[in-house]
């Protein structure tokens, strides 16, 4: 909550009064971007390698299909990720591990990516994640007074126990009828447990649902580096240009050698409920 304060204040005060402006920017050499996820659920781990583009470039980032990706753990075991050949143009740039491969809680993993003639390496640990005990739902106070056109008026209430003896960080993803959903296109739901007690008794979800939706919540454990990365990502995506918030800066990454992106290693827990009001 505290990290959102400048953003909250900013948007609360200065709603409206904005106009488009064209920035006169120089060209910039493309930089390697690596998006890597390793969880304890088979079929989920992947690595995606792309290049950055100019700010006003129209279209997706350039995908690289010739990177060499390997993963090893702290026991010395290693596994190679190979480029996923089948599928559509959208799957170019994805690298997958052997079928059925997943991470294990308590292990430390190092990912090595060789792309564009440079080697990038990152290390992260798989931390335990608490389970979501149960979910319930109720109409959201604001949506009830002012119903939105898409009918999303219900919020989920989350019940869980937060481990007090460890310092934990979480990334939360919401799914609506099996597709990933967000409130706004620059939302990231990431939390730390500073100031949070043991009993999470009905904390409302950040996302709203409509009647008959299949709502699913996933919680991923993050290391401190993962938490800082996502936090920095939220900050740069919501920057007000340095008026109240700090000047924008690239998110802190665990990759060496100047790669953008992050190698996230997490345990996942999930729970679903159907909204039937």
């Amino acid at each position: 909550m505290k990290r959102y304060l400048p953003i909250l204040m900013f948007s609360a005060l200065l709603s409206g009064c904005d106009v488009p402006i064209d920035l006169d920017l120089d060209q910039t050499p493309p930089e390697v971007t690596i998006e890597a996820l390793l969880t304890n659920r088979p079929g989920e781990p992947f690595v995606r390698v792309t290049l950055s583009v100019d700010f006003y470039y129209e279209g997706h980032a350039t995908r690289l299909n010739d990177a060499i990706v390997t993963l090893r753990n702290d026991l010395g075991q290693s596994v190679a990720f190979s480029h996923y050949a089948g599928g559509s143009a959208d799957s170019v740039g994805y690298y997958l591990p052997p079928e059925g491969f997943a991470g294990q809680v308590g292990r430390i993993y190092t990912l090595t990516v060789f792309a564009q003639g440079k080697t990038f390496e990152a290390t992260d640990s798989l931390k335990y994640v608490t389970s979501i005990d149960s979910l319930s739902y109720r109409p959201n106070r604001f949506a009830e007074q002012d119903p939105p056109s898409d009918g999303k008026t219900y919020e989920l209430l989350i019940y869980a126990k937060e481990p007090q003896e460890s310092k934990d960080y979480y990334l939360v993803k919401y799914y609506r009828n099996d597709s990933l959903t967000y409130n706004g296109d620059s939302d990231v739901y990431v939390l730390d447990d500073y100031g949070v007690g043991e009993n999470i008794d009905g904390v409302p979800s950040a996302v709203l649902y409509s009647d008959n939706d299949l709502a699913r919540i996933e919680m991923f454990s993050l290391t401190r580096e993962g938490f800082l990365f996502y936090n920095d990502l939220v900050t740069i995506m919501n920057s007000d240009g340095g008026m109240f918030s700090p000047p924008p800066a690239n998110p802190r990454t665990n990759f060496s050698n100047g790669a953008l992106g992050f190698f996230q290693v997490s345990a996942a827990s999930e729970r679903s409920i159907v909204v039937d009001y």
Binding site: M9, G197, A249
Partner: protein, 780 residues
Amino acid sequence: MRILILFIFACTNAIGQNFTVSGYIKDEDNGEELIGVTVLVGETTTGTTTNAYGFYSITLPKGSYNLRFSYVGYRLQSIPITLDQNISRNISLVTEAIDMDEVVITGERIDANVTDLQMSKTKLNLAQVRKLPAVMGEVDIIKAIQLQPGVISAGEGTSSFFVRGGSADQNLILIDEAPIYDPSHLFGLFSVFNADVIKDSELYRGGIPSRFGGRLSSILEVRTKDGNNKEFGVTGGIGTLASRLMIEGPIVKDKASFIVSGRRSYTEIFTPLISDQDNQVFFHDINAKVNWKVKNNNRFFAAFYSGRDSFSFEDTFGFSWGNQTGTLRWNHLFSDRLFSNMTAIASNFDYKLELRDPVQGFSWKSNLRQFSVNTDLGFYINTRNELTFGYHVSYREFQPGIIAPNTAGSVFYTVSIPRQYVFENDLYVDNQQRIGEKLTLMYGARLSIFQNIGPSDVTTYADPQDNINIVRTGVQHYDRFEPVKTYVNVEPRFSLRYMVTPASSIKASYNRMVQNTHLIASGTVPIPFNTWNPSGPYLRPQLADQIALGYFQNLSRNRYELSLEGFYKDMTDVTDFADNAALFFNPDLAVEFRQGDSQAMGMEFSAQKKQGKLTGFASYTLSKVTRTIPGVNRGNPFPANHDRRNVGNVALTYDLSPGWSFGTIFTYSTGRPITMPAGRYEYGPYNVDLVTTRNGYRLPAYHRLDLSATFNPGVNRARKWRGQWVLSVYNVYNRKNPFTIYTRTAEDEEGKPIGDGTQKEARMIYLFPILPSITYNFKF
């Protein structure tokens, strides 16, 4: 102490047969002591100026003299005296009627622009400030200060300003000697200073005398009126957004008086018109003062200020902040050459944020408290030497934040960021010496002994600069008043003035300033929740060395004042933060500090016309300020957030007749530097800006024209009630002045992403469009 003073007095007296003439200079109508009145002997430039309490003292050889008293806005007075013993002469100056006639000037006017030793200083003429266009009809001294050369406005949304390459926290703002930590009300539309109550306001940008310290770049010293000690009066105004009322009068005629003033906004009426959300914004403030004289050589003052801003958003989220100050002062004349002032000061600055929610509700409070005792002495040795010395002791308490749940079911528990305590001792001395007829020097120094003290538990870190893996290696405990960290600094101060001709002079100055109270602010606009932090084990004092050189010329018998000043300021250990620093409520804030160097240089030009139907001033400042901070921008130099290459201001007032006057302000400033993306990349579903250099881009320039018309009906009648209508228009040509630029996914009119959602756009936010207002001011 008394014996030492008498000894010095007796010594200097024994040298020749010298006698002293001293006294207080007041306004004839309301008894207010006048600050900075020029007192000259005969036709020479020998003399002095009245101090902050209207006191002057001149020691001369036995003989007959003509003393001349000159002050802007008042009629010149010439008093013959015979000095064959120490005498006291209290003078009352009469306000000058508006000089309608351009040609005739009565008497020789002596002007401070050329003769004053003090360079890089602006003394605001409140009568002139009142005639300038005022935002929302409210006369604001901060707005007038932002038009001065060398001063750059921090922009809309705040009353803060930057002086000679210094950031917004490098200005010491004092009201009757008590510090004010945030001078804004209502997003900078108003400032904490109620112009009705202000007597004198002086801004020092360079050549800062040794009695001031604690901030690197400027001192804004504001003194409030003492209250009319001859008769009761009521002054007030009803404006578009706020109203004010002031009552003053004698308690015992000519001996004791009081003044009370209050302001309140009623913007709650307007906010529903601007947005359909239930937002409430308002402010109020109160100024009160009482003063009384005991016998002839003692004077006591008690002053109080309290102001508060409050904002609430849909009844769920609220924040408020405010300054409160109280001072008790005692002026004592040890002799007619030794003037002393002792002030006890208490000040509190606090803010509070609240989120009202059954599950996530919390309140966050923070405050900064200060108690000081200042002792200042002025010893008027002879006509060639004036010694000023003193001792200031302060105790400060910093409470950076307490976050607490505000409902039973809240998921938060109480956490408090540790308090810090400060004990500071400052000693200073300076002498102002006249050498020959043309040269005056001021030299002196300030010694600052700063201590961060206990009770305190200081965390030690394996690497105090690592903000990713914060490894705490232990906690060191300090008892109450036990020093945690001590910083001792000597600040030399030096100024000189050389009169080339009676109408022109060259001035030069050097000063070193030390700052031990730092504002943890990262954006350009300081928001009230930025916390103040004292120097300590992880934060070193900031230092600045400034040299300035200027040429001052008056033309046409002092009708026009011109000045050209250049400055260079070298700052070390300016505070900045690591990229992506977590500044809000961070118990390990120390690991985010990054201190480095900054250099500022510039040239300031100003022209003023103070007499005639058309009066006003124009100023132009060319300046540059860069920072080099290890760990920021890869250690490469970058433009500071407050760098504005060209700044120009013109403020004019035209008195058409006693009933009508018109005013205009035009201001121009280069846009602020901003960090803009050089490219973009994808991560998951997100389209993220790629940043390469800090502050590599510039916002478009800021410029604006304001106009005002003031109508004084019935100005000739002898009626008690005097009313005045002021119509003012802010931003006459409705320029959309950039407040900031932000980026987002390109959207169409309905807010839907264009195409496949990969396109990005930049948007510029602007704050105030054209704002007309009407105010009715009254006085009786």
